[in-house]
């Protein structure tokens, strides 16, 4: 029931490994997304790669290269719009996001050769993963891990205190862009597995869960990896036993785990507060209501 589906079906084994690799990659990049508030640009990148992927497939070259180009265009565009025209980063991201997505839809809708459904790019094909995909995913994980490790101090400072980062001699812009780059790499590598839309879920929910319980970046990443991996396993089981879409099941699981974790912390907080009230000195806080 819990092991047999995987033991009997190689495609499920491959999906599981791919999902776990995605989970680890997203845990690293996602921790920075959550701590630094990059969710919107993460979402924009996830959609912005669409015309790149579509064009690449049309031209018969690897979708990954197309995604890489797409994300470069996206980031360059955001940079130009927000700095040269002095519009807020939010607006710049929104503009590029929608523009790239529309372009992607146009390209896939009018192409004469069958390039692959829009929905397949957005939602991935986890059940069709092959060894080549796994190698790619592993490569991406290595790059993201190495970059994050080397840049750990500036990244930490950027998340915690931008002002301090600047005075510490780091170029904020450079490291901010580097951070965006590892998010982009994560999106580019993962679109073939869970799809671009759902990568966002894997980036945010597990790391958000981690952030509920931990303050140290490494701990958040660890929790995020665990949550992501468990969600992959559970999601695949759900897809198997209930005949539901795989990618979506996994991402929904990550969000549900977050919901459970959040509820748990709320209960924990409420219990702690009650306990605190009972032991409270009657005159410890002016105006406090003591029963």
């Amino acid at each position: 029931m819990f092991i047999e589906p995987f033991a009997n079906n190689e495609f499920l084994q491959l999906s599981l490994v791919a999902g776990i690799l995605v989970a680890f990659t997203c845990a690293i990049a996602g921790t920075f997304v959550v701590l630094r508030g990059l969710a919107f640009i993460g979402d924009a990148l996830a959609h912005g790669v669409l015309p790149g992927i579509a064009t690449a497939m049309l031209l018969g070259i690897s979708g990954v290269i197309g995604a890489a180009v797409g994300s470069l265009v996206m980031m360059a565009g955001v940079s130009v719009v927000s700095r040269r025209f002095r519009l807020s980063g939010d607006t710049a991201i929104g503009l590029l996001f929608v523009g790239m997505l529309a372009l992607g839809v146009m390209i896939t809708s009018r192409s004469r050769t069958f390039v692959g459904d829009l929905s397949r790019i957005l939602f991935g094909e986890l059940l069709g993963v092959n060894a080549g995909d796994l190698i790619l995913q592993f490569g991406a994980l290595m790059i993201v891990a190495v970059v994050a490790f080397i840049s750990r101090r500036p990244f930490l400072l950027l998340c915690v205190d931008e002002g301090l980062a600047k005075t510490s001699g780091f170029s904020n812009r450079f490291f901010h862009n580097l951070m965006l780059m590892i998010v982009a790499i994560t999106v580019i590598a993962s679109f073939q597995t869970v799809g671009t839309l759902l990568v966002l879920g894997m980036l945010i929910a597990p790391a958000a869960t981690g952030a509920l319980f931990a303050r140290r970046i490494s701990t958040v990443m660890l929790i995020a990896s665990l949550v992501g991996s468990i969600s992959t396993y559970v999601g695949l089981l759900i897809s198997y036993h209930f005949d539901l879409a795989a990618g979506a099941s996994i991402v929904l699981t990550t969000v549900l785990i977050f919901a459970l974790a959040a509820t748990f912390t709320e209960i924990r907080k409420a219990l702690a507060e009650n306990g605190h009230d009972e032991h409270e000195h009657p005159h410890s806080h002016a105006g406090s209501h003591v029963r």
């Binding site: 079906n9 004469r112 459904d117 094909e125 059940l127």
Partner: protein
């Protein structure tokens, strides 16, 4: 310094736009036997057909008497295709619209409904044939032991479709063109509709085409009868009419649904694997709308071949007859 990123941006956008532009002009200017470019023959009655397979049959009937336009270009998934404003205009201006019916062209549903509601001329193939329907477990008994799962899976596929589109679901298999016998069923009614729209007598052409289709039917029959076993596994549940007519068994499909807009699930794939093993199927067929990666992985795991079949558009075939024969020969070769 500030001009550089702008220039880079402009170049990349230009490249992307060029790439998409070159594809759209391809669609418009490349003439095939049954499509016409925009405003070529204003005097001939305009017939709009939704996809190329039926379009070819229509062309064989009307010949030069009418201007036949095919709306969905080859290579686009007809289950999915979204019309442009131009497409809708072509449909609205046609003397007759010929469509598949049975909710095949999901993206054209509303347009076609509007035509019907406003009293326009629309012919739906599905109205003039014996529809292959799903019923609870009995309607199509093919092969061993996959009935319940197939029906269950098909109903799930239908439920998914229902969630996407708020209309009543008829539950009929739309892949009517895959059996020449089914095409023969609707031919008289189609001829009448075309005669009315063009004002011409098409009985000679209809008789000729009828004979050809009957020959085709016999040819396919003999090819398939030459096989020891005809067990079909396809990308989505598309081979029903073919299987029913020529005595093949539909073992299952990667996407067990009448439409490609559903997704494969781990449970259904695992079940399909079991069925393929049980029935010792030598090859699975994949095509438009199915993930080639999923098909290849499945084939690899089972140690069998994955063969790409073109089932929803003419592709290289010159006409309907060639299309069906190519299909049949590919199937026979893979299963033989």
């Amino acid at each position: 310094m500030t001009n550089k990123p702008l220039k880079k941006l402009a170049t990349v956008f230009a490249l992307i736009t060029l790439a998409s532009c070159s594809n759209s002009t391809e669609t418009v200017t490349e003439p095939t036997s049954e499509t016409t470019t925009d405003s070529v023959v204003a005097d001939l009655p305009a017939i709009a057909v939704t996809y190329s397979i039926i379009g070819d049959l229509v062309s064989q009937l009307v010949g030069d008497i009418a201007a036949v336009s095919v709306i969905i270009p080859d290579g686009q998934d007809p289950h999915d295709f979204q019309p442009s404003a131009k497409d809708i205009e072509t449909i609205n201006n046609a003397a007759l619209v010929v469509s598949n019916g049975l909710e095949f062209e999901e993206g054209l549903e509303e347009v076609l409904e509007n035509i019907a509601d406003s009293g326009g001329n629309i012919f739906m193939v599905g109205d003039h044939i014996t529809v292959r329907k799903i019923e609870d477990g009995n309607e199509h008994n093919h092969g061993d032991g996959e009935d319940e799962d197939e029906d269950h899976a098909e109903e799930d596929g239908d439920d998914q479709k229902d969630d996407d589109h708020d209309h009543k679901h008829t539950g009929g298999d739309p892949h009517v063109w895959l059996s020449p016998a089914t095409m023969l069923e609707m031919l008289p009614a189609l001829t009448t509709a075309l005669s009315q729209a063009t004002g011409a007598d098409l009985s000679t052409q209809a008789t000729a085409l009828t004979t050809q289709l009957q020959d085709l039917d016999s040819q396919v029959e003999s090819i398939i009868n030459g096989l020891d076993e005809c067990n079909l596994v396809s990308g989505h549940d598309e081979m029903g009419y073919f299987a029913d007519r020529y005595g093949c068994n539909v073992i299952g499909a990667i996407i067990p649904s009448f439409t490609t807009t559903s997704e494969a699930t781990a449970g259904e794939l695992a079940e399909l694997k079991k069925q393929v093993e049980q029935n010792k199927v030598p090859a699975i067929f994949t095509g438009l709308g199915t993930s080639p990666d999923t098909a290849n992985q499945l084939a690899k795991e089972l140690g069998i071949k994955a063969v790409t079949l073109s089932t929803h558009y003419l592709d290289d075939a010159a006409n309907y007859q060639e299309f069906i024969l190519n299909l049949t020969n590919q199937i026979a070769e893979a299963l033989g």
